[in-house]
Every structure is written in structure tokens, then in C-alpha cells.
């Protein structure tokens, strides 16, 4: 008979038992989920009633029940209770004005200052949810910016886990304190945690304070930051401010500057034309180095905001580029942006350029159809 190296059936039996345990665990998990749902349905109205009771006390007598907030301090250590509390709070605050509810929020600030001491030691999901809860509560700006909560949030920005950084940034930006955003940027710079510029821009857009002030503060310290942190600031500025022409022009001209920042400057000058930028854009468009095609293509697009004979001449030259994007953008700027009639383009002899022009004409017709 064949002899085996080891007894296989025991290993398989062990696996089977473990799998059955997983199945049993699944079943128990489903049951506990249902039970929790049932409990939540009972607890949540109770939490809401308590909040309303406190609000009545605050509004009628200007007092707070210390025992209630002490109770919260203990209960909110549980992330599950925290979730229920935030849901109830969101419901309850609809009944009051922001000013009225700020009194309750201020009392809650002390509770959260205590809570962060315990939450600091907890796992990522719990710390992340605390940051999320802080955002949802929307503490009054004045008391929030001087509290220890901000330190907790800033520290989260040095964490490897992107969700912690995301939740923390949301909480900081939704409050509207400029100096906190500056601190946040510094923390991210110091810890070298890469955070996608698109996500950073998204958070800046959530900022509730003065946009112009935030833009100037972040811009004035831009030398401290790496390009991935400056880029979202520039994009943010492009969305609402035309007061940065001079500053962006210096970036546009500087050959040693990061290419992404220079490209962003080109985009800025498309939205906010600036006479001195015209010549630089021409030179980018005329660039023959194919590795620089992005500058040329973007400049071709931007020049649609700089009408004039010279621009038409430069864009016509752009039609002869070996790069498709440069040709396409030049044609689009001529036909769609500058609305150049067919006559001045009659002398275009390159088949590739003609083909591109023809395509742009058809493409623009489709756009017109859509608008109609």
C-alpha cells in the first residue's frame, strides 16, 4: 500500500471546522447586527430627547446640566454611541437657530477635549470617525480654534492612513480658521505624506471663512511647501480670484519652477488674461522641443483669450505642430475661441492641419447642437 508523508484528513478536517466556525460567526454577526439595529431604534429617540432637554435648559435658564455632559463624556467613548449621538444631534439641531445651538456646541467642546485623550490611543477607524464627528458638530469658530481638538486634528494629518487625513482636513476646512489651514499645510509638508492635490483642492473648496484671506496666507508661505501642496492652492485661486496675476506671472516666467505649477499659471491666464503673459505664451507655443508639448498645447488653448493678429499668426503656426494636441488646441482657439472666419485660414497647406481644422469645425457643430 502507498504510504503518505502525513495524515491529510486531519488537515482538511481542521479547515472544515474553521470554515464552519466562520459560517457560524457570520450567522451570529447577522443576528447581532439585527439586535443592534433594534437597540438603536430604541436608544436614538432617547438621545434626541436628552439633547432637546438640555437645549430647553440652556435657552430658558442659561444653565447646563453638568451631570449630562459628564455622562456624555463617558458614553461617547464608545464609537457606536458616538454614531448614534451624531445622528440624533443632526436631527435635533434642525429645531434651533445656529446661534441658539452654538451654546450646546460650546458645552460639547469640553467633552470632546476630554474624549480626544482617550481616542488618541484608539485605532484608525475610531480616530477617523472622531474627526468626522467634529466636522459634523461644527463647533463655534472662536472656541474651536483655541481648543486642544485642533492639535488632535493637525496630528492626524501626519498619519499614513489617507482616511484620517481626509476626515481631519474636512473638519479643519469646514470651520473656517485660516491659520489652522496654514498649520495643516505645514504638518503635511513636514511629514511628507502625499495627499492628492485634487483632494486638497476639494477640501479648500469646503473652507467656510474668507477665501481671499486664505488664498493670500497660503500663497505668502508658498516657498515653505512642495509643489504638490502649492498646486491645489493655485487651482483654488484660479476658481475665484483675479488678484494674483503678478504673482502667477513670476511663476510662468521662471524656468526653474516646477512644471505643474507653470502649467497651472498658464491655465490661470486663460481665465484672467494678463498682457505681459502674451509673449510668454507665444514662446511656449513656438517651442519645438516635443518633450515640452504640454506647454505648447495649453498655451494654444489659452491664447483664445488673447485676440489679435499676432495671436492668429502664432496659432496658425501651431497648426503645423507635429503634436496632435497642439494642432487641435490651436485649431479650436482659432475657430471656437477667436471665431476666425475661413478666409484667413485658406493658406493652410499641411494636410494634417487641414484635417484638424475640419474636425474642429465639425466638433464645434456638435457642441452647438447640444446647446440648441
Amino acid at each position: 500500500m502507498v504510504t503518505f508523508l502525513f495524515n491529510p484528513e486531519f488537515i482538511l478536517l481542521f479547515y472544515i471546522v474553521t470554515c464552519i466556525s466562520v459560517l457560524v460567526f457570520n450567522i451570529l454577526y447577522v443576528i447581532s447586527d439585527r439586535f443592534n439595529e433594534w437597540c438603536n431604534a430604541l436608544i436614538q429617540p432617547h438621545i434626541k430627547r436628552n439633547i432637546e432637554k438640555q437645549m430647553n435648559l440652556i435657552l430658558s435658564e442659561g444653565l447646563v446640566s453638568k451631570s449630562y455632559f459628564y455622562f456624555l463624556q463617558k458614553k461617547l467613548l464608545s464609537i457606536h454611541y458616538m454614531k448614534l449621538f451624531i445622528q440624533a444631534l443632526t436631527e435635533a439641531e434642525k429645531k434651533y437657530t445656529d446661534k441658539e445651538f452654538d451654546k450646546f456646541r460650546s458645552c460639547l467642546l469640553n467633552v470632546f477635549e476630554h474624549l480626544i485623550q482617550s481616542y488618541k490611543k484608539k485605532g484608525d477607524i475610531k480616530r477617523g470617525y472622531l474627526a468626522c464627528a467634529i466636522e459634523k458638530i461644527n463647533f463655534p469658530k472662536e472656541s474651536f480654534e483655541n481648543s486642544s481638538i485642533t492639535g488632535f486634528l493637525i496630528n492626524l494629518l501626519g498619519e499614513k492612513n489617507i482616511y484620517l487625513r481626509e476626515n481631519s482636513l474636512r473638519a479643519l476646512c469646514s470651520n473656517g480658521c485660516v491659520h489652522l489651514i496654514l498649520l495643516a499645510w505645514r504638518k503635511m509638508e513636514n511629514t511628507k505624506q502625499f495627499h492628492d492635490p485634487r483632494l486638497l483642492l476639494n477640501k479648500l473648496l469646503m473652507f467656510k471663512g474668507s477665501k481671499e484671506e486664505l488664498a493670500w496666507v497660503l500663497w505668502s508661505y508658498r516657498k515653505e511647501f512642495s509643489p504638490s501642496l502649492v498646486l491645489p492652492v493655485m487651482k483654488y485661486i484660479r476658481l475665484f480670484s483675479d488678484s494674483f496675476r503678478k504673482e502667477f506671472y513670476s511663476i510662468l516666467k521662471d524656468k526653474n519652477e516646477n512644471s505643474e505649477l507653470r502649467l497651472e499659471a498658464i491655465r490661470y491666464f486663460r481665465k484672467y488674461p494678463y498682457a505681459p503673459a502674451r509673449e510668454v505664451l507665444y514662446s511656449f507655443l513656438a517651442e519645438e522641443n516635443t518633450s515640452q508639448w504640454r506647454y505648447s498645447a495649453l498655451s494654444a488653448k489659452t491664447l483664445s483669450a488673447y485676440p489679435g493678429d499676432e495671436t492668429i499668426y502664432q496659432l496658425k503656426k501651431g497648426l503645423y505642430s507635429s503634436d496632435w494636441y497642439v494642432r487641435f488646441n490651436s485649431a479650436k482657439s482659432l475657430i471656437v475661441g477667436l471665431k476666425v472666419s475661413p478666409e484667413p485660414l485658406a493658406d493652410i497647406y499641411s494636410p494634417a492641419a487641414k484635417e484638424t481644422l475640419e474636425y474642429v469645425v465639425q466638433h464645434s457643430k456638435i457642441q452647438v447642437q447640444l446647446l440648441q
Binding site: F4, T18, C19, Q362
Partner: protein
């Protein structure tokens, strides 16, 4: 009994023992780790550890189509309902003999345009290109010479305007939030080169505007067993291999790719049947050889619904194609195997696909023959072998059930009691019968296959939302 025969049988017996035990261990650990991962994802969902992004990554959705007049319109309509801001749709009609192009042109009032195609990746010539703009979403239809699915995808990549491309099948329906979900790994990590989504079988699902309005596991055993098989493979190997950037496959039904990497790597290979796997292997190979920091991710939250064959014949055609594709990919990229610079991909992923995906049918059939002959010459303990096989099969069945129900409860999916019964019945059938049918289909996949290697894999199409 001659000693040499006994020695041979001892060697073969022990080989199988080790082979099956290692496979069982792999399945076991991968299912458990898959369940843990989904559990963590569920907690993240509950406690809002999510990326809320309104700033979208612009994507081009490429739909290669060949004789898809029945499904293509629904597919494009569902794409127009995506919960996403910045994307374009590119349909590539690859030499269809039916009215695939006409259906789209008439439905969306598309205009023929003379669009130059910059062929950064080689592909066959276009015949006509149409354009339209529906609700602000640009739609491009390229009608081209027949060159196969890979060629059609290459054409789509050449036409795409955006830095990321989503490649999908013309009979697939993307769930409304699927694009948002599949781009999330790109926002988490800028080095992500490709992301695979979760493919679920749409036979039995009723979909409306990219949302599931009703779902039942069909009584058709071929479909039912494939549902379980998909769940097991996605839950087990995909999630597990994702842990160490070891996924070698992103399903052709739904995958996101960084366009410049795909172009630099040479795009889809038109000579390979399994073009989806080949591209992922190519990306691994290209990035590792050129020392480019990259990762291939799997996003289980990004769901795509795809039709599966509903009869054995269709199933056999599909699986033969996949198996042949697997062989081509493993052969073409054999340099990865145990290669120093490839790390886990060379040592674990490639080895897994070689031993437990490609060689499995041959090894298992050889094992069955050995047992039968061993019984005849009385060198095998028959009761023991039967018990062993029974335990092994039961183990497979339990793992399948575990992965199916783990996904159901961890993703808060409601299923009816009858679906639970069907799942259990199909699971047992899959382990005891279907698995062996699949085994033989794969084992004989090579016979007569070569002649058809550049053809599209076709299954009988039905409109999505109607149960098979």
C-alpha cells in the same frame, strides 16, 4: 507487487497530497482574508472612513462591440446615468455584421465627423467616426475594420481624450456609483496603474439606469453555479492577491487603466485571446523592468454587471477561450516566473496561476486516473481515498458557501430565503459535479482552438434585466 510500481505510486500519492493541501491552504487563507477585508470595508463604510471626492479624475469609458445590436444601446444608456461628472464614452464597433452602429447613430442622433486618429498604439484602420453630445457627455462611435477585441480597445485608447481609461464589455452594465468607486484607489495612491472592479453576473438581476431594482439567483444551474464561482474567485484570490500587489488579472468586463502606462507598455496584444490578463502582466513587466513605482489594485465596491453563458455549450466555449488565453499569457510572460525583480508576482502569483489554474486540470485528471489504476492493482487504500476525496470536495463546498454568504452579509445585500436555498444547492452541485465538467472542458481546451484564436468570444446575448 514490484517495488518500483509501489515507489511510483507513493511518489504520485504524496505529490497529490502536497498539491491538494497547499491548494486547500491557499483557498482557506484567501477566503478568510477576503472576509476580514470586507469586514474592514464595512466598518469603514459605517464610520465614514471614505474619500468624498467631487473633484473627479477624468475618464474615458471604452466599449468594444462586435455584433452587439441587442445590448449596446442599453449599455450606453446606462453609462449616461453614471453618478460621475467628467467622462466620455467611446464605442468601438469592430467589424460588426449586424446593426450595432446604426442603432447608436439613430438613437443618439450621431453625426459623422472626420476625426483624425493619432495611433499611439497600433490598431486597424477606422472606417467612419461619429460624434454626439448627450447631456454634456461626449459620445464617440468608431466603426473600424475587424481586428478583435484587443484591437478595438486599442482604437478606443487612441481616441480617448482623458488620462484614465475604463475598458468594459458591450454587454456589461456599470452600477451608477461604479466609476466613482473605481477611481478612488487612484486618489489614494498616485502610483496606481490599474484598478479592477467586481464583476457580478447580471442573469437574474433587473437593472434600471445602472441600479439593481430586483435580484434573484436564477434556477438555471449553469448560471447559478457560475454566480457562486465568481463570488469565490473574486472574494478569495482577487482580494488576497491584492494585499501584496499580486493580481495578474483585471477582468475585461471592468477595469481602469492609466493611459500613459498602457501606451508605454504597448497597449493590448491583438495576438492573445486573454488580452485582459496579458495587459496586466505587461504592466507588471513594464513597470518592474523600468523600475517605475506602480501598483495594481482591486476595488470590490466598484460593481459591474455582466452576462454569463446560460447553457453548457456557451459555458464551454467561454471557458476554453479563457483557458487558452491563460496559456498564452503565461507562456508569453514566462520570464516573470521566479524572476528576481518581480518579487511576490514571480514567486506566488505566477506560480499559483501556473499550478492551480493552468496545470490543475491535467494534474487532477492524472490524479483520478492514478487512483483508478491504483485500485485495480491494489496499491491504493480505496476507502481511504474515497473519504479523502469526499472531505476535500466538502471543504471546497464549505469555502464557496462561506465566501458567498460573507459577501452577502458584509455588503448588506438582501437575499430572499429561496435564494439562500438555491445558493446552498448550487454550491453542493458545483463542488460535486460542475467542478469536474469544468475540469474536462479546460483539459481539452486546446483541441481545435487555434483556428479561432482571433475571433470574438460570443455568447448568446439577452437584454440586461431579463433573467436567463
Amino acid at each position: 507487487m514490484p517495488k518500483i510500481i509501489l515507489l511510483i505510486y507513493s511518489f504520485v500519492g504524496n505529490f497529490f497530497l502536497v498539491y491538494m493541501t497547499v491548494y486547500a491552504a491557499f483557498l482557506f487563507f484567501s477566503v478568510i482574508s477576503g472576509a476580514l477585508k470586507l469586514n474592514k470595508e464595512k466598518k469603514k463604510r459605517i464610520y465614514e472612513s471614505r474619500i468624498h471626492h467631487e473633484c473627479c479624475v477624468p475618464v474615458s469609458v471604452i466599449v468594444p462591440a462586435h455584433n452587439e445590436e441587442i445590448t449596446v444601446l442599453d449599455t450606453v444608456k446606462s453609462l449616461l446615468c453614471l453618478d460621475y461628472r467628467l467622462y466620455e464614452i467611446i464605442v468601438v464597433n469592430d467589424g460588426s455584421c449586424d446593426n450595432t452602429a446604426e442603432v447608436l447613430v439613430n438613437s443618439f442622433n450621431m453625426t459623422e465627423i472626420k476625426r483624425p486618429v493619432v495611433k499611439k498604439i497600433k490598431c486597424r484602420n477606422e472606417r467612419r467616426i461619429y460624434g454626439a453630445n448627450v447631456n454634456g457627455i461626449p459620445i464617440t462611435l468608431a466603426v473600424k475594420e475587424k481586428g478583435g477585441k484587443a484591437d478595438a480597445l486599442n482604437m478606443g485608447i487612441n481616441l480617448s481624450e482623458f488620462p484614465y481609461v475604463i475598458c468594459m464589455d458591450a454587454d456589461s452594465v456599470l452600477q451608477r456609483d461604479s466609476v466613482k468607486q473605481i477611481v478612488t484607489p487612484v486618489l489614494e495612491d498616485e502610483s496606481v496603474a490599474a484598478v479592477g472592479g467586481l464583476v457580478r453576473i447580471s442573469n437574474g438581476a433587473v437593472l434600471k439606469n445602472g441600479e439593481v431594482v430586483d435580484y434573484n439567483i436564477p434556477w438555471n444551474p449553469v448560471v447559478g453555479m457560475q454566480i457562486l464561482e465568481y463570488d469565490r474567485s473574486f472574494m478569495a484570490s482577487r482580494i488576497f492577491l491584492d494585499k501584496f500587489n499580486g493580481n495578474l488579472i483585471i477582468s475585461g468586463a471592468f477595469g481602469l487603466f492609466k493611459k500613459d502606462i498602457v501606451i508605454a507598455a504597448g497597449g493590448y496584444d491583438c495576438e492573445t485571446v486573454g488580452e485582459d490578463m496579458e495587459l496586466v502582466l505587461k504592466i507588471h513587466s513594464f513597470c518592474r523592468t523600468n523600475k517605475i513605482s506602480y501598483s495594481v489594485k482591486y476595488a470590490p465596491e466598484a460593481v459591474c454587471w455582466s452576462q454569463c453563458p446560460s447553457d453548457i455549450k456557451g459555458f464551454a466555449i467561454q471557458r476554453r477561450r479563457w483557458f487558452y488565453g491563460l496559456f498564452q499569457c503565461l507562456h508569453k510572460h514566462r520570464h516573470i516566473f521566479m524572476a528576481k525583480g518581480f518579487g511576490v508576482i514571480g514567486y506566488i502569483s505566477y506560480l499559483y496561476y501556473l499550478l492551480y489554474e493552468f496545470l490543475a486540470p491535467y494534474i487532477e485528471i492524472a490524479g483520478i486516473i492514478t487512483i483508478i489504476t491504483g485500485c485495480f492493482i491494489n496499491v491504493v487504500n480505496l476507502p481511504f481515498m474515497i473519504a479523502f476525496m469526499a472531505i476535500y470536495i466538502a471543504f471546497g463546498a464549505i469555502l464557496t458557501i462561506t465566501s458567498f454568504f460573507s459577501r452577502i452579509y458584509l455588503k448588506n445585500i438582501y437575499i430572499s430565503f429561496s435564494d439562500i436555498v438555491k445558493a446552498v444547492v448550487f454550491c453542493i452541485c458545483e463542488s460535486f459535479f460542475f467542478r469536474f465538467i469544468h475540469l474536462f472542458i479546460r483539459a481539452f481546451a486546446f483541441i481545435g482552438y487555434r483556428k479561432k484564436k482571433k475571433q470574438w468570444g460570443c455568447i448568446e446575448r439577452k437584454k440586461n434585466g431579463k433573467a436567463a
